[in-house]
């Protein structure tokens, strides 16, 4: 945290054109080299509201509070209609989309896994089926069944059709975590969004 120096007023006092006192409440959080930060916060929230907010908090929480206010102010200036709420809305939409995709993918995967188990169980039956009256029949059936996996059209056509595979609900626990203990990372939404793009996803 930057502290006010006797020579250099903090960004807030520079903006407000006043003397920056040693006990200035803004000085630790609005260093003189970040004038835009205070300008934005002042424009959206106002200096007195920010002062009141900071005074209600423990000193250890004030830096995070200022940074979150700066982020909100920045978002509001970029998008005067929705501000941060636009970001929330977008993220919620992304989350819903991901949940649906994950649900479908898991549903598809479970089918393969079932086939894998079935295949294994047939293989075991063959190995241990010496006393089984149907061992030969099983072997033949398995042999035919085994080959049925390879012609794509016969067995897997159904699995490739994804249009109707919307399994009800996702296994993903979408519960919101408690807010209190989060170490905030104030990423710019575009940067964060860019970082989140996975290369497996085709750009739209």
């Amino acid at each position: 945290m930057a502290s006010s120096s006797s020579n250099s007023p903090c960004a807030a006092c520079k903006f407000l054109r006043r003397k920056c006192q040693p006990e200035c409440v803004f000085a630790p959080y609005f260093p003189p080299d970040q004038p835009q930060k205070f300008a934005n916060v002042h424009k959206v929230f106002g200096a007195s509201n920010v002062t009141k907010l900071l005074n209600e908090l423990h000193p250890s929480q004030r830096e995070d509070a200022v940074n979150s206010l700066a982020y909100e102010a920045d978002m509001r200036l970029r998008d005067p209609v929705y501000g941060c709420v636009g970001v929330i809305s977008l993220l919620q939409h992304q989350l819903r989309q991901l949940q649906m995709d994950l649900s479908c993918a898991k549903s598809e995967l479970s089918k393969y896994q079932s086939l894998g188990i079935l295949h294994q169980s047939i293989g075991i039956n063959l190995l241990g089926g010496g006393t089984n009256a149907n061992a030969n029949a099983n072997a033949t059936a398995t042999h035919q069944y085994h080959h049925q996996f390879f012609p794509r059209e016969q067995v897997f056509g159904g699995f490739v059709d994804h249009h109707n595979h919307h399994s009800g609900g996702s296994n993903y626990d979408g519960g919101i975590l408690a807010i209190g203990q989060i170490a905030t990372q104030f990423q710019q939404p575009r940067a964060a969004a860019g970082d989140d793009v996975r290369r497996t996803v085709d750009p739209s």
Partner: protein, 147 residues
């Protein structure tokens, strides 16, 4: 969010003017968006943003966008009052982490699907937009994270 406007009440001052203890005139900028039966909405917005800042924001946006603007300000104000340190940025942080987590999980599931598909010699489609085979359905991908 819907964008319908409310009419100002001729006899009853809007919540803003009631709060500010002033006469609610016919051209009151707050009246369409702060009806008298929702006093808390304006009280919250006033406490966090201040009346003059809200007025300036409303004047900067188109009339048909003002209701959405007020509602988003009210949402942010309420979030800030519930969580004075992080406000609605806390929710953004949580959502971002959830998105990252789900993307990772989807990648892993797609990788598993690819493995099974190659074992069985079948075609399949990755979910989340990437198509590995030429046939069958598969959902059109949408870019995640484009703003």
């Amino acid at each position: 969010m819907a964008s319908s406007s409310c009419t100002s009440y001729a006899n009853s001052p809007c919540a803003a003017c009631k709060f500010l203890r002033r006469k609610c005139t016919s051209d009151c900028v707050f009246a369409p968006y702060f009806p008298p039966e929702e006093p808390t909405k304006f009280a919250n917005v006033h406490r966090i943003f201040g009346a003059s800042n809200v007025s300036k924001i409303l004047q900067e946006v188109e009339p048909h966008q003002r209701e959405d603007a007020v509602n988003s300000l009210a949402y942010e104000a309420e979030a800030r009052l519930k969580d004075p340190v992080y406000g609605c940025v806390g929710a953004i942080s949580i959502l971002q982490r959830q998105v990252i987590r789900l993307q990772r999980e989807l990648e892993e599931t797609n990788a598993d699907l690819m493995r099974y598909a190659s074992c069985f010699g079948a075609e399949t489609t990755s979910f989340g937009g990437r198509k590995s085979g030429g046939r069958g359905g598969g959902r059109d991908g949408e870019g995640y994270g484009g703003y």
